[in-house]
């Protein structure tokens, strides 16, 4: 427990979050209420699932630019399977996750075995997935999904929908995977120095491919839950904006840009930070378009601050 507290404090994301919340309480009307806090938690749940995968990918020194398009693909696929084909809920969920895993496998194999840089691979597959989702959906949005499917993420438990609990469970699993398992340590070693890790006999190739499989599977889960939340399946869900949101959260949460270091708790705080900002922008009724630029500004600030701190040390 002390370890968790120390790493989070070191990443600085807690400080940023506390400052932001204070600013929100003082300057933004209607911010300081239990209801609004619950709104922020609900909105953070789905990106929190996706950010886990991105954290792992960034830890390997790679990036996944296709993440948001996996969300769109998963959304399209979910809608199709549940409504058009009328598949049972269990099968729809399983097939959507499997589809995500498959995309991740393709990404991972191209990056690891065909030696194509991750940003090119995932930029390419992102376009491909978006194209496929658009062609499959033919521009249609599928709404009014079956209630049995909606129940997966919307059932109310103690004031929160099930998607929040799913996210909490996934985050706990992710914490063990990244910080307590052999896989997590392999990931770290690979990110710091892939050659050294390989020469030490670690299964680096397998770990690297598995990272992309996990990332896309989590993105597919995020897509599924997002579809359930808004009760609409469409390829435009997620996209580049979602990818960027998740990257921002991971980097603000203290994930190293050079690979090796990542923190699940830090990334979770990263998500909360961007969602608090989004919430403030909404409450203050200013242009939502500000959101993109502000996120970019925050990433840049964090990077510069990080650099200054490491030089001072």
């Amino acid at each position: 427990m002390r370890g968790i507290i120390q790493t989070t404090l070191k990443s600085g994301s807690v400080v940023i979050l506390v400052l932001l919340v204070l600013v929100g309480i003082v300057f933004v009307r209607n911010f300081a209420s239990v209801d609004n806090a619950a709104v922020i938690v609900r909105q953070s749940a789905i990106p929190a699932i996706a950010v886990l995968g991105m954290t792992m990918v960034l830890m390997t020194g790679g990036i996944d630019l296709s993440l948001g398009f996996v969300v769109g693909l998963a959304s399209t696929a979910t809608g199709f399977m549940a409504k058009v084909w009328g598949l049972p809920v269990g099968l729809t969920v399983a097939a959507t996750l499997l589809l995500g895993a498959l995309v991740g496998l393709v990404n991972g194999v191209i990056i690891q075995y065909m030696k194509v840089p991750s940003f090119i691979t995932t930029l390419g597959t992102g376009y491909i997935l978006y194209g496929i989702s658009q062609l499959v959906s033919a521009g249609n949005v599928i709404t009014r999904l079956p209630p049995s499917l909606l129940a997966v993420g919307r059932t109310d438990l103690l004031g929160f929908p099930t998607s929040v609990y799913i996210a909490a469970g996934i985050i706990a699993l992710g914490w063990f995977l990244i910080h307590k398992s052999v896989f997590g340590r392999t990931l770290s070693a690979f990110g710091f120095n892939s050659r050294a890790a390989f020469l030490s006999g670690l299964p680096t190739a397998r770990a690297n491919v598995l990272t992309y499989v996990l990332c896309s599977s989590l993105a597919a889960l995020a897509g599924l839950l997002l579809t359930i939340r808004v009760n609409a399946a469409q390829p435009n869900m997620g996209g580049g904006v979602f990818t960027f949101e998740v990257i921002t959260a991971a980097i603000v949460g203290g994930t190293s840009l050079f690979g090796g270091v990542g923190s699940v708790i830090g990334s979770l705080f990263g998500v909360l930070i961007i969602k608090v900002i989004e919430n403030c922008i909404n409450l203050m009724n200013i242009s939502y378009h500000l959101y993109l630029a502000v996120q970019g500004g925050i990433i840049l600030t964090v990077i510069v601050m990080d650099k200054i701190r490491s030089r001072a040390a």
Binding site: F119, I120, Y127, I128, G131, A293, Q295, I303
Partner: protein, 312 residues
């Protein structure tokens, strides 16, 4: 030697592909359509001039998608306010160079990986383009501005001439100046170049600023062609620009690749899209195709050299 054989093969393949396209699609090989292909490729081609230099120094510029929207948005809004066209265009170009310089600063001074820096700067630019006119597109520019995109000069579209000029500048810098030599050397081995006492940081700043400059010209040309600036108009051009460089043999392992070849790559992408358009293939399917091509070409071409530097 190997490179020269590669280039001749590339050229022959290109000619064969054009001939095949001509046989397949009756309207493809008409002078009017070919000039049109060059016109459509000019945006990608101009972007590829700057992108080539960035990739040669082992970088990447993902910010061009945002800049292709932001720069003409700056110019367009100024123009609609009644600011003289020339000054408006210069303002747009300055925005591009400024953002490019910022990319360069982050990469050179803070060692931030290029794909992160340029992604973030691209998103900031995109965000600014959206904020400036609250997410709406603008249009109805002065006739002389629209002429840049649609007019002709002695029967040749101004867009094509602009592409030639930008390519000329790129070729001049990379092949006929000491800076060009240093850019290739930097991509080959940064440590050695540093030990030679060359100002590596300055070189990186220049290359990223130049890429921002190219993106601003591409964006302004696009807006002149369409007589519109849409705040997310840059999105489709990112993949095509990188694909143009990669198809033109610019190696992601750094240190090699020619501006002229990247522009040829842009013409190939433009031709492929044109042929698919003429055949009635859906644009989304074209994206699937371009995405696949780029991955396969990188896999095939950079193969031998990238393997040595790639993570195991």
């Amino acid at each position: 030697m190997g490179q020269r054989v590669g280039r001749i093969l590339f050229f022959l393949l290109g000619v064969a592909a054009l001939a095949a396209a001509g046989l397949l699609v009756p309207h493809f090989l008409t002078p009017a359509n070919l000039l049109n292909v060059v016109r459509q490729s000019s945006i990608i081609g101009i972007g590829a001039v700057g992108m080539t230099m960035v990739i040669v120094i082992l970088g990447i510029d993902l910010s061009i998608a945002g800049l292709i929207a932001l720069c003409p948005m700056v110019s367009g809004l100024l123009m609609l306010q009644g600011v003289p066209i020339f000054i408006s265009i210069v303002a747009g170009i300055i925005a591009g160079i400024g953002m490019g310089l910022f990319n360069g600063l982050m990469v050179a001074k803070l060692d931030v990986p290029p794909f992160i820096t340029t992604l973030v700067v691209g998103q900031v630019s995109q965000g600014l383009a959206l904020i400036m006119n609250n997410g709406r597109s603008i249009g109805g520019f002065p006739a002389s501005y629209v002429h840049i995109g649609n007019g002709s000069f002695f029967g040749i579209p101004v867009s094509d001439l602009l592409l030639l000029v930008m390519m000329g500048i790129g070729i001049f810098i990379t092949q006929f100046t000491p800076t060009g030599n240093r850019i290739y050397a930097l991509g080959g081995n940064e440590t050695v170049v540093r030990q030679e006492g060359i100002n590596v940081d300055g070189l990186k700043l220049f290359v990223y600023a130049f890429s921002g400059f190219c993106a601003s010209i591409a964006g302004i040309l696009l807006s002149a062609q369409l007589d519109t600036v849409h705040p997310i108009q840059g999105d489709p051009y990112l993949l095509d620009t990188i694909a143009a460089c990669v198809i033109g043999g610019v190696s992601l392992a750094g240190g090699e690749g020619r501006v002229a070849m990247a522009v040829a790559g842009a013409l190939i992408i433009g031709s492929v899209r044109n042929v698919l358009d003429l055949l009635g293939v859906h644009p989304f399917f074209q994206n699937v195709l371009v995405g696949t091509i780029i991955i396969l070409v990188v896999f095939g071409s950079g193969l031998s050299r990238y393997r040595r530097t790639a993570p195991v």
